[in-house]
């Protein structure tokens, strides 16, 4: 079975090290370019794919409806619908209108951030061939945060809306530096990428703490932003981030085939006509765009990017093209349900979305891992 010479850290198993993957190539869904997909079991066929897609879409619709309709302030479905209509056609005046209106930015941000984090998680796990990779593994989130803190401390950035213009260059610069650090004579290897990312994250987080702790004014702003939450933010913030999110998502959804090839190991991927380095750079940039958008919009939210790819994989198998699409539907659903739970759990206060995400995601991740074992 083809394997690159990459030595993986103990406990980290390359996807392709699975004997079942050797030589298996999967029939692609109709219309999709046929590429080799390492498969642990029969890959998703067209029928099964349609079922999974419908299920994912239904789950997301349910999450969106729940997010708009359920919260601390109880409203009947009729009231919610009426208020939504009022909001879409103008600006409402009743308290119910205000409540529903306040749930709109939460829901929109939840859809964006959930999709961004889950899809970025798929890419990072694929690129680094490390099932424990989360979107922040290349230092992207630390880079975004460091840039924002720098802006707050030295350039008087304070308005939350401008975050994306700081977060994005910070994230991009970090990923370029990490890639540079990890590149040897034959490009970068997953292990070196992860190490460089971890080192950069550590350095940047130290820098953030140093600035935040010596400048109480920065600390105040940073503290507010550093708790991942969908609430207390505005639709304008979602609009600021939307273009970057859409570009990142489009680029990310196009990486499925290269991720499948990379899963076989770089030499095998190269023999299939893929340029491994180019594929990795494209993937890393797409994930960076997504992470930076999510981080700028809602702050750091953990667990979605780590858990959702595994949860989806336990249903859809290892084909990255399916993983990407289904994660883009499942990620927002998880995040929105977590947010609704946070609204209800600590009445009359709220639990932060970032806290509930892990509480809700952990059992799902454990179930997913058990299912996978049963299948494998």
């Amino acid at each position: 079975m083809p394997r690159s010479a990459d030595s993986l850290p103990p406990g980290v198993r390359a996807e392709a090290a699975d004997p079942a993957a050797a030589g298996a190539s999967a029939p692609a869904a109709p219309g999709a370019p046929a590429g080799p997909a390492p498969a642990r079991r029969a890959s998703v066929g067209a029928g099964r794919g349609a079922v999974l897609l419908s299920a994912g879409a239904a789950l997301l619709v349910l999450a969106v409806v729940t997010s708009l309709a359920v919260g601390a302030h109880q409203l009947s479905p009729g009231e919610v619908a009426a208020s939504l209509w009022t909001e879409l056609t103008g600006t409402g005046s009743t308290y119910a209108d205000d409540v529903v209106a306040s749930r709109i930015p939460r829901t929109v941000l939840g859809i964006m951030a959930g999709a961004a984090l889950a899809v970025a998680g798929v890419i990072m796990q694929g690129l680094t061939r490390n099932p424990l990779a989360d979107p922040g593994i290349l230092g992207v989130n630390a880079g975004a945060a460091a840039a924002m803190v720098t802006g707050m401390a030295f350039f008087g950035a304070g308005a939350a809306g401008a975050n994306v213009w700081l977060a994005l260059p910070g994230a991009l610069l970090t990923v370029v530096v990490v890639y540079g650090l990890s590149s040897g004579r034959r490009g970068s290897t997953p292990v070196r990428l992860v190490l460089a990312g971890t080192v950069m994250s550590a350095v940047l987080m130290s820098y953030i703490q140093a600035v935040a702790l010596t400048r109480p004014d920065v600390f105040t702003m940073y503290r507010f932003w550093a708790v991942g939450s969908l609430s207390g933010r505005t639709l304008e913030q979602a609009q600021d981030v939307l273009p970057f999110f859409l570009v990142g998502l489009a680029a990310a959804l196009a990486t499925g085939r290269s991720l499948n090839a990379l899963a076989l190991g770089e030499e095998a991927a190269a023999s299939l006509g893929l340029h491994p380095q180019a594929a990795k750079i494209t993937g890393a940039l797409a994930a960076t765009l997504l992470c930076a958008s999510a981080t700028a919009a809602v702050g750091p939210i953990g667990f979605v990017g780590l858990a959702v790819p595994h949860i989806v994989r336990s249903f859809a198998g290892p084909d990255h093209r399916w993983l990407l699409v289904l994660s883009a539907l499942t990620g927002p659903a998880l995040l929105l349900f977590a947010d609704v739970l946070g609204r209800l759990a600590a009445q009359p206060g709220e639990l932060l979305t970032g806290v509930v995400t892990a509480l809700l995601g952990a059992p799902l991740l454990i179930l997913a891992v058990r299912r996978m074992r049963a299948v494998a």
């Binding site: 109480p216 105040t220 702003m221 503290r223 708790v227 207390g232 750091p300 009359p348 970032g354």
Partner: protein
């Protein structure tokens, strides 16, 4: 995403209260005015939640930690040799302006300052050679207390960190300094000046209020409850906490409760909304949320918005020095908001 650093950052909210020492030299303490009764008071034992302080003779080298204790020590005739550095709302001397002014009026040297907050500079306190450490309104831990109390008798809080009624704080400091009568007079003086102020403003009487902060968790408000000095001061001025606000349970171990903005209608019957902000950015983030803007008091602008940190701190604890200083500045703000209640 990066969970560990986030946790680390969230674990240090008290950082706002103390950073970077400035290593001032300890100044010689001034001769203390021996009141005839003081020496007869000793030895004195003061109980607190963390242990008891046994004070053998009238203290001369007093060190204060936390809020408001330096004020009261000065007011009772003992200028501290060292105070925990004030980093939020401080003047140029790492202290509150009303304390600095009072010490300068007495002609004493200004106290040395040391880093406090969650990481108290114990070495700096040792160097000050204190014979009494006052921390009745502070967040010192049992560990801090055990070290400090070995160094000099230390007065901590009665039950919970940062929780002591303002008059109890003055009484306990009076007891430790051997000036119980002066402390009683100081408490009576504060009550009188607040009552006078209430009498001057009959329009304050019976107005309902809530005191909130929007800079905590996004989409939520922090509410200050009765027993917090901010609230006590306003009730002393004749106002009352809105009943719906009274019913909101306190968060675990604090004098505040949390209110998600989806429950903002609980503030519908608030005549005057009191709020403070760290800065304009925090104000903007809070006020641009539609559910905050929908609070009736906000709609009619009967809001006291405090961005002045010294006024903010001066109205967050009640001491013989802070009350007269802050009333002059705070009253006009309340007058303006009350006038809009209609």
């Amino acid at each position: 995403m990066k969970r560990a650093p986030k946790a680390a950052l969230l674990a240090v909210p008290a950082l706002l209260l103390g950073l970077s020492g400035c290593g001032a030299e300890a100044s010689d303490s001034s001769p203390v005015e021996e009141s005839g009764t003081a020496s007869a008071q000793f030895p004195v034992t003061v109980e607190s939640a963390l242990g008891e302080a046994v004070i053998e003779k009238k203290p001369e080298r007093v060190v204060t930690i936390g809020w408001g204790s330096a004020d009261t020590a000065v007011a009772l005739g003992t200028t501290p040799v060292g105070v925990e550095e004030v980093t939020w709302g401080n003047d140029g001397h790492g202290n509150y302006p009303w304390v600095t002014e009072a010490i300068e009026e007495r002609g004493d040297d200004l106290p040395a300052t040391f880093t406090g907050g969650t990481d108290i500079d114990i070495d700096a306190i040792v160097a000050l050679e204190p014979d009494l450490i006052l921390a009745p309104n502070s967040g010192i831990t049992q560990e801090d207390f055990d070290i400090l109390n070995d160094l000099a008798p230390t007065v901590a809080y009665p039950e919970k960190a940062w929780n002591i009624d303002w008059d109890d704080q003055i009484s306990v400091i009076g007891k430790a300094l051997g000036e119980p009568e002066a402390a009683e007079e100081a408490v009576a003086g504060i009550k009188t000046s607040l009552a006078d102020s209430a009498a001057e403003h009959p329009e304050f009487a019976g107005k309902t209020f809530a005191y909130v902060w929007g800079g905590g968790a996004p989409g939520s408000l922090v509410l200050y409850n009765e027993g917090d000095a901010r609230v006590d001061m306003l009730t002393a001025l004749g106002m009352t906490v809105a009943p719906e606000v009274k019913d909101i349970p306190s968060s675990e171990g604090s004098f505040t409760s949390e209110l998600g903005l989806e429950n903002a209608e609980k503030l519908n019957n608030v005549d005057v909304l009191f709020t403070w902000y760290n800065d304009e950015a925090e104000q903007q983030r809070t006020e641009e949320q539609r559910l905050f803007a929908s609070i009736p008091a906000v709609e009619r602008d009967s809001v006291v918005r405090n961005l002045d940190r010294q006024v903010g701190m001066g109205s967050s604890f009640l001491t013989p020095l802070s009350v007269p200083w802050v009333l002059d500045r705070f009253e006009p703000m309340i007058e303006e908001a009350v006038a809009k209640v209609g």
